[in-house]
């Protein structure tokens, strides 16, 4: 959520402005934010009004003990007496919690265990029965508590000055404090009755987010750390110094941290590189944005000197960085030395926040966290290109190109913090679907199969926590984890949702997605999904082609083949014949690239069963 020190310079802006304008001009239709059934839902913390399309809420799990203050805003008074008591308490002791101090944050999944980060620690749930059952609570304050999991190790980001090495809360005051911890904590969670902190890797700018990067050595795991806060003093951590590169070539700005974790000795985890991924070809480490070169003003500016989030796709040795002032594309063949391939700027992107690849790595969804997540940025008067997703494509030359914006199409009100936030892919074969959190804008599923025409196909939303006052809440992350969508609700706990069929999504498409299983899911470490040949997968393509108006007779035949297969007797000869016609149709003029891919994929399935 946080952002810090994103001072951009003008030179870079001008340098890339033309490309960015082109991105907008390419968009097939201008996105529109309109009033709909989500706009005027009734407020409430645990009883707000709800609206849903294509999604159904299965479970809503309230925050566990110790992770909410029963007298504070997240547990509203239910009687007048309680209300008066709360008011009296607030008046008497204004030194109360910041609601954010108990916020739920990012999530990861390992086996049947769902891990939910929190500014105050983390919680783990067993989800094998469907309903999340709390199995572990750990307090360790410091925010934001973004986390990842690998085997028995759990990694957690800590960035606030109040964080302490010993997980305590007695504070770490002063400019220099030996007890202060800002960086990546590593917990051993092999024994849920005795979770232990085994390492605490201090970093210069703390840890806002981090990303696990596997290596070819099975005993080594890398962590890319993105720190976005101020640089700490050398007296506190000797490797740190701040300042612009002109004055300090060793500045801790303009880099990320690469942490190497020996898995048999995680206590030895340490920073092994701080690569200058913003450097230009001449070795200027502030190569992406350099201030003053066009002489607009002489004001001192800082530059894109941090990443907010990096998503790696180890299968293709690539990573996408959302790095404050721009999006970048990295080669991570050598994980210790990531190299920038290309970068992208867009004047409508206030703060490049996160990145999500499609399943091939040819497209990247970048998000713009305009105003940092605590502002109401989905109001009717807010432009639909601000605080939105930018769909970018990766060219054969490795260049990123901005194609279209997509924003939650529902106007939210002034008391709902709302902007594009975290999500991941829903593995429906033949389509690029991403489920995404929009804070109090709710959860939205975007189809970006056509990068020029992203469109919403499902949603779930609640009314505001409070109708009159903006209280920060809503979905921090919404992720597809093995058949269900889990949403980490900042104030309300954990929600579990399932896809339900609609005119935009068929039962076969849902079944095909639900059949995909992964052992471990850290959403910032993407893996390519391969679908097995099943009737649901085949029918998904048929449903999609039918929806986009493919030849009706051909689709009828294809449907008959799948129905026969499902009933236990696939008609091999017909399957082969239909496959041939599909292949031919895919090459015909006027067929969209998306549909051509579906036809070839379906033909492939039919050939294999034929």
């Amino acid at each position: 959520m946080f952002v810090r020190k994103t001072l951009l310079s003008s030179a870079a802006a001008l340098a890339v402005l033309s490309g960015a304008v082109a991105a907008q001009a390419q968009q097939a239709s201008v996105p529109v934010v309109a009033v709909d059934e989500r706009t005027r839902l009734s407020d409430g913390i645990m009883d707000a009004g709800q609206a849903a399309k294509g999604l159904a809420l299965e479970h809503a799990v309230a925050p566990p003990p110790g992770f909410f203050d029963p007298a504070m805003i997240f547990a509203p008074p239910t009687t007048q007496e309680e209300g008066q008591a709360l008011n009296a308490r607030i008046q008497a002791s204004p030194d109360t919690f910041s609601p954010l101090a108990l916020s739920n944050t990012d999530m990861a999944l390992s086996g049947n265990r769902l891990f939910v980060g929190n500014f105050n620690g983390f919680n783990a749930y067993d989800v094998s029965s469907g309903k999340p059952e709390l199995i572990l609570s750990v307090v360790c304050p410091g925010g934001q508590g973004d986390l990842s999991v690998h085997g028995d190790l759990l990694f957690m980001s800590v960035e606030e000055n109040r964080g302490r090495v010993d997980c305590g809360a007695s504070g770490a005051g002063g400019a220099v404090n030996a007890e202060r911890f800002r960086g990546v904590r590593i917990f051993d969670i092999s024994d849920l009755q005795n979770p232990r902190q085994v390492a605490a890797v201090q970093t210069c700018r703390g840890s806002h987010t981090h990303t696990l990067v596997p290596s070819s050595d099975p005993n080594v795991l890398y962590v890319y750390n993105s720190g976005t806060s101020g640089v700490r003093r050398a007296e506190e951590l000797s490797i740190c110094s701040s300042g612009e590169p002109g004055r300090n070539a060793d500045t801790a700005l303009y880099s990320i941290d690469v942490i190497k974790v020996p898995l048999d000795r995680p206590q030895d985890a340490a920073i092994v590189n701080r690569p200058r991924i913003f450097a230009d070809e001449n070795g200027r480490i502030d190569g992406l944005w350099t201030g003053g070169r066009i002489g607009v003003t002489s004001q001192e500016t800082a530059q894109t000197n941090q990443c907010h989030d990096i998503t790696v796709f180890p299968g293709i040795n690539r990573a996408a960085g959302a790095c404050a002032g721009n999006g970048i594309f990295l080669d991570i063949s050598d994980p210790e030395n990531p190299k920038r391939i290309s970068d992208l700027f867009d004047p409508d992107m206030a703060y490049w926040h996160s990145a999500t690849f499609d399943n091939t790595g040819d497209k990247i969804v970048f998000t713009d966290e305009w105003s940092g997540g605590i502002g109401a940025r989905c109001q009717l008067e807010d432009p639909a290109t601000w605080g939105a997703n930018l769909i970018a494509t990766v060219g054969g030359d490795g260049k990123l190109r901005g194609r279209a914006f997509h924003k939650l199409p529902s106007a939210q009100n002034a008391s709902e913090n709302c902007v594009a936030h975290n999500g991941n892919l829903i593995p429906v074969p033949g389509r690029d679907l991403m489920v995404q959190a929009w804070y109090q804008g709710g959860i939205s599923v975007m189809d970006f199969s056509d990068p020029m025409k992203p469109v919403e196909i499902a949603y779930f939303d609640r009314g505001p926590l409070d109708a009159d006052r903006l209280m920060v809440g809503g979905s921090w992350s919404a992720y597809w984890f093995n058949g269900r969508i889990y949403s980490s609700e900042i104030a309300r706990g954990v929600d579990v949702l399932k896809l339900v069929p609609s005119d935009m999504l068929s039962p076969a498409e849902i079944a095909a997605a639900e059949a995909v299983r992964m052992d471990v899911i850290n959403p910032q470490t993407q893996t390519r999904v391969e679908w097995a040949d099943t009737p649901d997968v085949a029918m998904s393509y048929v449903d999609q082609l039918t929806r986009s108006g493919a030849d009706a007779a051909l689709m009828r035949e294809a449907r008959a083949v799948v129905d026969g297969w499902r009933a236990g007797s696939a008609d091999a000869a017909t399957a082969d014949a239909v496959a041939a016609r599909l292949t031919e149709a895919a090459g015909a003029r006027g067929v969209s690239a998306v549909d051509a891919r579906r036809m070839r994929a379906l033909a492939g399935v039919f050939e294999r069963i034929g």
């Binding site: 001008l14 402005l17 003990p65 109040r162 809360a169 800082a302 002034a414």
Partner: protein
Amino acid sequence: MPHPLGIALGILSLTAQDPTTPARQDPPASPPIFQPGAPGQPTRTVTAEQAAELARTTYTEADVRFMQHMIVHHAQAVDMVKLLEVRGHSPRVKALGRRIAIGQASEMDLMRGWLQARGQPVEAHDLHAGHGAPAAGGHDAHAGHADHAGHAAAPSETPIMPGMLSPAQMARLAAAEGVEFDRLFLEGMIQHHQGALDMVEELLALPDSAEDTLLSDFVTSVVADQSSEILRMRSLLAEL
């Protein structure tokens, strides 16, 4: 540890407890809450109350003053955009101005809410005393509005706070039109935004400031937004 809960059970029975422990008094049983120690140090268990207590953050007088001042600071940007709507020229400058006004107005709401929730006055009582504020002795915080200051004498060249436009600057802006207005607006807003960045920097340099989570979050988003808006304004200024 008293709770024999184990992951081997797969699905945990929430009533599983040591038989010697009285079950009735407890709320629905949940796993113990752990507070790990530093690496190499043991983990201990804490109660739910202690766990929540660990999240408690405090704020300083400087934090309060920062929020009060920033409200006044932001109000000026909203005023400037009101002028832009009627006197400005370039649609692109107007679009940017609207975005700024939207952002600043909602941040003002957030700051007021933060102060009110902590029982702090929304208005800054120290502004009139220092900084050469024109409405000496006044008790409201409206001195940030240039028109308020400009009735009697010639408007002052001294801003009410560092980082704001002076009453004289605001008067010149209000008198300009067209492209000249756009230029003054952009220059003024860049100065204004830079002022907010300076205010944040000043706050963060103070011991124990901005430790409150919401405040910390707020100042970081102020930096991000205003910085990128400065960038955009410089681009526009170069094209005038």
